[in-house]
């Protein structure tokens, strides 16, 4: 399973701005509902989130600490 941007359908009004800026066609309109298609092509650019006027789309970052080989 590929992590993908999340859409809050309660907030989304289907304006389609996110689709217009998506570089990898990961967002499509299906029966007037914005739908996310899983794809490795999504580079998490965050432009869909940036352009959404209703903050209905979220590109969440997991924050992790890289363990060093010395264990520190």
């Amino acid at each position: 399973m590929v992590e993908m941007p999340e859409i809050d359908l309660e907030k989304c009004d289907g304006c389609g701005l996110c689709i217009s800026v998506c570089h990898c066609s990961a967002l499509v309109m299906v029966n007037n509902v914005i739908t996310v298609i899983e794809t490795e092509e999504c580079g998490w650019c965050g432009e869909c989130e940036a352009v959404c006027p209703l903050e209905a789309i979220a590109c969440r970052f997991e924050i992790v600490i890289e363990e060093r080989y010395d264990g520190s």
């Binding site: 992590e3 989130e49 940036a50 352009v51 970052f61 890289e66």
Partner: protein, 223 residues
């Protein structure tokens, strides 16, 4: 080209105008299209028209000598850009780029002058739009010049990294901006700065803290 009257009325420049006046204004409008990545306006170039986004999204940005980009505004349908050079006659203060396919409605500088002379209500609307723009830009200036956002973003990353046990919170740039008391655009710039310093690595949907000590130093240096 058919300029939709209802859409025209929704543009802040033209709110409160009668259908007859809107119909007159409609005659001055020309349409322009652009594809993703097209530069619509170049910073420093002379400018001849004001644009409204009819569909799609445009970003307005400045680029530093080192090539760093600072987004000033994201322009959505109904909103305008390139207002300033059209009114002061100076070159474009920023560049504008299509973030996807866009349709723009344009009005030339001279036609806008005619509209303002004949319809003072439009001038009052322009005052409102420009005042709102100044307010937004003052807020951005405050963030960029006085607040040490990078340190606060570093602190947020350290506080939300988790210890590997249990679920970690997952944050959007918008949420980090709200936590740091700034705007999303400034968080994006701060993350890039932290990556350039070697403290973090942006790995698609992960922010990997590669040097915890360096990140702590950032908090102390900037906070």
């Amino acid at each position: 080209m058919a300029v939709d009257m209802e859409f025209l009325q929704s543009i802040p420049y033209f709110t409160g105008l009668s259908p007859a006046v809107l119909d007159l204004i409609r005659k001055f409008i020309f349409e322009k299209t652009a594809e993703r990545g097209d530069i619509i306006l170049f910073e420093g170039a002379p400018s001849e028209a004001l644009y409204f986004v009819a569909s799609g999204v445009v970003k307005v940005f400045k680029t530093s000598a080192e090539g760093k980009e600072q987004i000033l505004n994201i322009i959505r349908p109904g909103e305008s850009f390139n207002d300033v050079p059209v009114f002061d006659g100076e070159p474009n203060p920023a560049s504008a780029q299509a973030m996807g396919p866009v349709v723009l409605y344009g009005i030339t500088k001279s036609d806008l002058g005619t509209i303002l002379r004949d319809h003072p209500k439009v001038a009052l609307n322009v005052n409102m739009v420009l005042a709102s723009r100044v307010r937004d830009l003052m807020s951005l200036v405050e963030d960029l010049s006085f607040r040490h956002v990078t340190g606060r973003v570093a602190k947020i990353l350290l506080e939300n990294a988790g210890d590997g046990n249990g679920p970690r919170p997952r944050l959007t740039q918008q949420e980090m901006a709200a936590m740091a008391g700034t705007v999303r655009e400034v968080v994006g710039r701060s993350l890039k700065a932290l990556e350039e310093e070697g403290a973090i690595r942006l790995d698609r949907h992960r922010i990997v803290i590669t040097d915890r000590e360096a990140l702590r130093d950032m908090v102390e240096a900037y906070y």
